[in-house]
């Protein structure tokens, strides 16, 4: 079933120079496996094509049921130089949670209960 990531995951974002990092945390181990296949760096880069100009790198953090995405060249120069309202990528986590993913019904029941 197609759902937004926010139904099955949490996220937090911040800045690293002109890159933002978005940590994504699955709500169950089974969902982490599903996201491992679906929340690929390519898909995340496409989702953020209006923000991210430099590509996306993904790190796995299985012990926290998490992934860390680095969105390179995403902050208009970063920190103090940027003219953007969101110069620190603070909103990028909320943006990632808006991405569509396909989750089997039985896994959804677990998190909706």
């Amino acid at each position: 079933m197609k759902v937004k990531l926010y139904e099955v995951a949490q996220a937090r974002s911040g800045d690293k120079g002109d890159a933002s990092n978005v940590g994504l945390i699955a709500r169950t181990p089974a969902i982490w496996e599903v996201l491992r296949a679906q929340a690929t760096p390519e898909r995340v880069a496409d989702h953020f094509r209006g923000v991210c100009r430099g590509g996306v790198e993904r790190f796995e953090v299985p012990n926290l049921l998490a992934f860390n995405f680095m969105l390179k060249d995403s902050l208009g120069g970063g920190g103090t130089e940027s003219l953007k309202t969101d110069a620190q990528g603070k909103t990028h986590a909320q943006g990632l949670l808006q991405m569509d993913v396909e989750i089997p019904e039985e896994l959804l029941r677990e998190v909706r209960a």
Binding site: N21, G79, E81, L83, K84, T85
Partner: protein, 455 residues
Amino acid sequence: MRTIRIGNGQGFWGDNVDAPVELLRGGPIDYIGMDYLAEVTLSIMMRQKLKDPRLGYATDFIGFIRRVLPEIKERNVRILANAGGLNPRACRERIFEVARELGVKGLRVGVVEGDDIFLRLRDLLAAGHEMRNMDTGEPLAPVVDRMMSANAYLGARPVVEALRQEAHIVLCGRITDTALALAPMIHEFGWAADDWDRLAAGTVAGHIIECGAQCTGGNYSRWWEVPDLWNAGYPIVEAREDGTFTVTKHEGTGGMVTVGTISEQLLYEMGNPREYIGPDAIADFTSIRLRQDGKDRVAVSGIQGRPRTPFLKVSGSYLAGFKTSGQITVSGPRAVEKAELAAEIVWKRLERAGVTFPEEARSTELVGTGVCLPGIFPTPAEPPEVVLRLGVRDADAAKVTRFGLEIAPLITAGPPGVTGFAGGRPKAQEVMAYWPALLAREEVEEHLVVSVEEV
């Protein structure tokens, strides 16, 4: 096993001023760490110090000390802060003045110095230390004349030394936020300088609590689940000698401590999770185990570390031109089109006046139409209002100032429904850009000075 309680009462300069007082009075606590320095705060302090040699530290910290001074000494709660900024000795003098005013005697205040390498930059370059920008790879030498501050991120050791000399308050400049939590653990448990797993554990503990309420329910994805966020308790680490610890908060406070809130904070500002590089050790975040251990208690264990690197990170700032931004609110029918027209008016008038900015040095944002996350949310067809936010950046302050003159005329000479212009003409502000670099650690460590004095 013996436990010590280390809290964070301030995540950054500008954080809730009541939080550290609540942390002190809300229950048992042994150490309170206070973080005041963001990446370019030191450049602001440099300006202040140049104007007045008695300034250059976080003045908010004095207000806090005034509120709690007799109490922290009586209860022996020790305060560790990077509030010293570029002038920790002046900060100590001010604390001593407050102590005398309040009749507090026997207060011991430690100062850590040696992080400030600003005056040594040219010598270090001459000695072959390139200090290239870690983000861009550019060498420092061509920029050195524009540098405004340069400080090495110190580790926990000098703070441990101040604690050994029985300081009630330790004032540092550029110390890592994590060291404020790690130092009490080294001091209390006597961890060895090569006990990498435990040093990494203390570093992780520091990382979890360094942003204050951001691990106790603030900025949390599932915000609707957080009780009484207005009254969120600030975090406390119950540290144990074996390097395991529990994150919690005082009873009766709002917010929450769950595996969810801690996991989010662990990933905050994270790069490669396998190597979180601090001055005291490298921590492997893929080794961390979290377990909910009752309400508002998360037990943390399993942390593995690796040897520290031969470098310390340097945080520099340099003058990189000027910028400003101005905004108006555009309301009523066809608000988006009207805001676009208003922006066109500003840019065309500036062009006619001979003031132009390259594309990457000017911005036009229609706040309310999805500027933070373009393309991710559907743009509302007919928003009742939008905020037009225009900004420019240039090496020439006069050009930036000239831009600032063009916002107010929109009220009478732009489209209808324009309001919300307040605060006067936008003024050119100096841009302090960030220069992260690496420096051989012995170049800094040989210059460290720890002094503890008593009033």
